[in-house]
Amino acid sequence: MSLELRGISVTLGHGDARVTVLDGLDATFAAGTATALVGPSGSGKSTLLAVAGALLRPDAGQVLLDGADLAALSERDRARARRERIGYMFQSGNLLGGLVVVDQLLAAASIAGRSHRQLRPRAEELLTELGLGHRLRHRADQLSGGERQRVALGRALLLEPALLLVDEPTAAVDRTQARALTELIVGTTAGRGCVTVIATHDPAVLAVADSAFDMAPSPPERLSA
């Protein structure tokens, strides 16, 4: 299982505001490893995540997840890939307001057309593994920043994704929680064998990740572990 990006180019904006964010990017991410994407703001980290996660179709290039090109899929099939094969943790706005923790996971199951009744035990077990067993019936606004991120991680993992994409997971948590959360993501990646890509500015993430990919140079380059 792997994620391979070949010749990815993305230009955003219109007219004078057009910016080439990714220009012929090549990168490979191996299964069971968590790769930190680093680089200054505007270097294309989020765009790379969007392209890899079938949220954004590149202007050119291939996004090969286990050999299947996500960039070539129709919008409908890309949506299917997102709900069935890809898990996301976003920087903010991860959770649905008003829903209790366990329902946050079951909502994702519903989107994927899976039985929420069958998946409820698995969701509760997963949340317990993530240290949220005592929070199953709490609403999102009753959780700390770190707890919310762990709920998002649980939602991303519920359907056993091949690819886990994480955007600035530690931006809203303190240093201790940041390290714990990063270790949880990296450990989960190794345990489940999925491909994990983490966009981050946080040196703590860089320290824990299996490898790193620097978006600052042109072309971006893999950093040694």
Binding site: A50, G53, A79, A81, F90, G97, G98, I111, R139
Partner: protein, 370 residues
């Protein structure tokens, strides 16, 4: 659907508030509809009960025909000779009477020939048979007029014996009393205050009631006989206040039908704007546009249909509470049609927000589309 229910449950306060507004709009539309039908019945139910297809008035009268039109006996006789037509005189006059027990009532005297097709059936007592008799509407019976009473028409002193009670029928919000044409002419043409009726009463009617075989050229008969014939339903407009009331009540209903989609549309518009980030999140997690649109419609349907059903029950309950004290009538088909219109109008309002739901952008979750 599970996700739609989760969202409904999570935002139940807001949805209940919106549902309450739909309940009130639906109840108000139902109540207005009940009054529209009730007032209409109270104005023209006696005309509706006439077993005639058309009414012929004098040609010079364009409005308020029942009070102003007079058709002579010669004209009636001429109508009766027309092929494909059965015709009889109809007299209509509003007056007032008092029984010997002191019960004072307003009444609409309908002069009808007891031997032909306008003669009213009775629920109690005897049918109308001869001059000096009266068959009263059930509404007059409710006001205390009994079979066997002598009802004296105020000011002109015409005495009528109550022989029967027919179903509830009214004209211009006044209960109807059926008398013979001769008795009606005594009421209509008598000089108020005179001790006896005028010696020679005009042998005239308000209109000629017609039962015409389909295809009969009534316009040609009108041209020959100098009358103006209108279908029975069109003659309702000649009843006092009917057109004004109908326009007023229909206007109120129309405004409510316009308000319903605006209110529901505004709610779902604000709701959709507020949840744009969540819609983007759901899209990012792989929810298809179709699924999100389905969820939104399911939520709107739950609020609109649920609110409408409760509103319908409320309007029905109001009708039961009002009873027969006010002109309110809300038969099941009318209620169903009214509530279906409210529900459709509400859903149309919700549908206005669907474009915004469909265009939620999943890339905003990563800020990558900026």
């Amino acid at each position: 659907m599970h996700l739609a229910l989760l969202e409904l449950k999570a935002a139940r306060g807001r949805f209940l508030l919106m549902g309450a507004v739909v309940v009130l709009v639906a109840a108000l539309v139902g109540i207005v509809s009940g009054f529209t039908t009730g007032l209409g019945d109270d104005t023209v139910s006696a005309l509706r009960r006439l077993s005639a297809t058309d009414l012929a008035f004098s040609p010079d009268v364009k409005t308020d025909q029942f009070a102003r039109s007079l058709v002579g006996a010669d004209t009636l006789a001429a109508w009766q000779r027309q092929p494909g037509v059965r015709a009889t005189g109809l007299g209509v006059a509003l007056t007032r009477g008092t029984t010997e027990r002191g019960v004072e009532v307003d009444l609409a005297a309908f002069g009808v020939d007891p031997a032909v097709f306008l003669s009213p059936g009775v629920e109690r007592g005897a049918r109308l048979a001869e001059d000096g008799q009266v068959v009263v509407s059930g509404k007059l019976a409710d006001q205390g007029v009994r079979i066997g009473d002598t009802l004296t028409v105020d000011r002109i002193g015409v005495r009528l014996t109550v022989v029967g009670v027919t179903g509830s029928s009214a004209y211009g919000h006044v209960p109807v009393a059926y008398v013979t044409p001769a008795t009606w002419q005594r009421i209509r043409f008598a000089v108020p205050g005179a001790q006896q009726a005028t010696a020679e009463l005009p042998y005239q009617y308000s209109a000629v009631a017609i039962q015409a075989v389909p295809g009969t050229d009534l316009a040609a008969v009108d041209r020959r006989l100098g009358t103006r014939t209108v279908p029975l339903a069109d003659a309702f407009a000649a009843a006092p206040g009917y057109s004004g009331e109908k326009v007023t009540m229909t206007s109120i209903q129309t405004f409510l039908y316009l308000i319903a989609p605006l209110v529901v549309g505004a709610f779902f518009g604000i709701w959709t704007v507020q949840r744009q980030p969540e819609l983007a999140l759901l899209r990012a997690l792989g929810a298809s546009r179709r699924r999100l649109l389905g969820h939104t419609l399911a939520q709107a349907s739950a609020v609109v249909v649920g609110g409408t059903l409760v509103g319908a029950a409320l309007a029905g309950a109001v009708g039961l509470l009002l009873g027969a004290q006010v002109p309110f009538s809300l038969p099941a088909p009318t209620l169903a049609a009214t509530m279906a219109t409210v529900a459709l109008a509400g859903l149309a309002g919700a549908a206005l927000t669907l474009r915004r739901v469909a265009t939620a952008d999943p890339t905003t979750m990563l800020g990558a589309g900026r």
